[in-house]
């Protein structure tokens, strides 16, 4: 290969890199040349996920004896609009549900576990329910529309959520 081609390629790469660095320096929201902290990476792990069924907020199984309601929302959302009697197990998209939480729910002896999440798309309640079912819990459901749907229904009917 001609040395001229290699020399030209190096010059092109250097010039283009220089332009890139210059443009980045001029941009008000340019990247720092070296990241000051590691990036939060979301690389899906092969988590075992189970199949779960959605329950409407009006479904009688929600209030049936033995139903354990699980709140998948974060602490701030739970404090702002609490679900009475719900077991808090905050769902995190980056971390698997802890073994302790699964053991605690399994140890409750409840014949049915219903997870209420943020009601967004994707719904943290559905995701946590799938993860719990994948960890071996039986009869796991999630509330369609999540905690907001439960709270709306409770407000409409004038009962505690």
């Amino acid at each position: 290969m001609h040395m001229g081609i290699i020399r030209d390629a190096m010059l092109i790469a250097l010039a283009a890199s220089g332009i890139g660095l210059g443009v980045n320096a001029l941009m008000p929201d340019g990247l720092p040349l070296v990241a000051d902290r590691p990036y939060d990476l979301f690389v899906p792990c092969p988590e075992p996920l189970g199949t779960v069924e959605a329950l409407e907020p009006a479904d009688p199984r929600l209030r049936a004896p033995g139903t354990l309601l699980v709140d998948a929302r974060d602490e701030a959302a739970r404090k702002a609009a609490p679900l009475a009697g719900a077991e808090p197990v905050p769902f995190d998209y980056l971390e698997s549900v802890s073994r302790e939480a699964v053991t605690r729910l399994a140890g409750s002896g409840a014949p049915r576990v219903v997870v209420a999440g943020d009601g967004l798309d994707p719904d943290s309640g559905r995701e946590l329910a799938r993860e719990l079912a994948g960890q071996g819990l039986k009869n796991v459901f999630f509330v369609s529309g999540g905690a907001p749907a439960l709270l709306r229904r409770a407000t409409r009917e004038g009962v505690a959520p």
Binding site: D8, A9, A16, V43, P44
Partner: protein
């Protein structure tokens, strides 16, 4: 062998290869230039480069892609541009192979940042990159008198 190397059809096949590759690289660089912060996350997701090199790579690579793509399309220093494309393809193949061998499920990040569900890397991505590497090598080794702006300007230049 020298007869094959000197075949005049290489100029036309080389032009087609250069236009295609140049188009691919111009398309690929657009999102990276407009959203370097998103591309940096894509680079980091491969877990291939050390943290100190991630931003530098994300900032500069897109502009090298732009330069190589433009030069390939215009036919200016096109063999050098093809060499750059070949080197970039080798780097991408190494990163892809490393990610696939570790079982990482992630987005390619080649054209636009998408989730792993929409644009997952796979061995098909490797085959595609190998094909692009072959085109770049063809343009570098066999397109020895590239059709394009540089050749046209040289022909117009009065001989002294």
């Amino acid at each position: 062998m020298s007869g094959w190397m000197a075949w005049r059809g290489h100029a036309w096949l080389g032009l087609a290869a250069r236009l295609y590759l140049g188009g691919v690289f111009l398309l690929a660089c657009a999102h990276k230039i407009l959203h370097p912060e998103v591309f940096a996350v894509d680079v980091a997701t491969y877990q291939f480069l050390p943290l100190w090199a991630v931003n530098l790579f994300a900032i500069t690579l897109a502009w090298v892609e732009l330069a190589a793509g433009l030069l390939l399309v215009l036919g200016v220093r096109s063999r050098a541009a093809a060499l750059l494309v070949a080197l970039m393809m080798l780097a991408f193949l190494a990163a892809l192979g490393s990610a696939l061998s570790r079982g990482l499920e992630l987005s390619c990040g080649c054209f636009a940042s998408q989730g792993a569900a929409e644009d997952p890397i796979s061995w098909r991505t490797v085959v595609r990159d190998l094909a692009w590497l072959a085109l770049a090598l063809y343009a570098m080794w066999l397109d020895r008198a590239p059709l394009g702006l540089e050749r046209w300007l040289n022909h117009r230049r009065p001989r002294s």
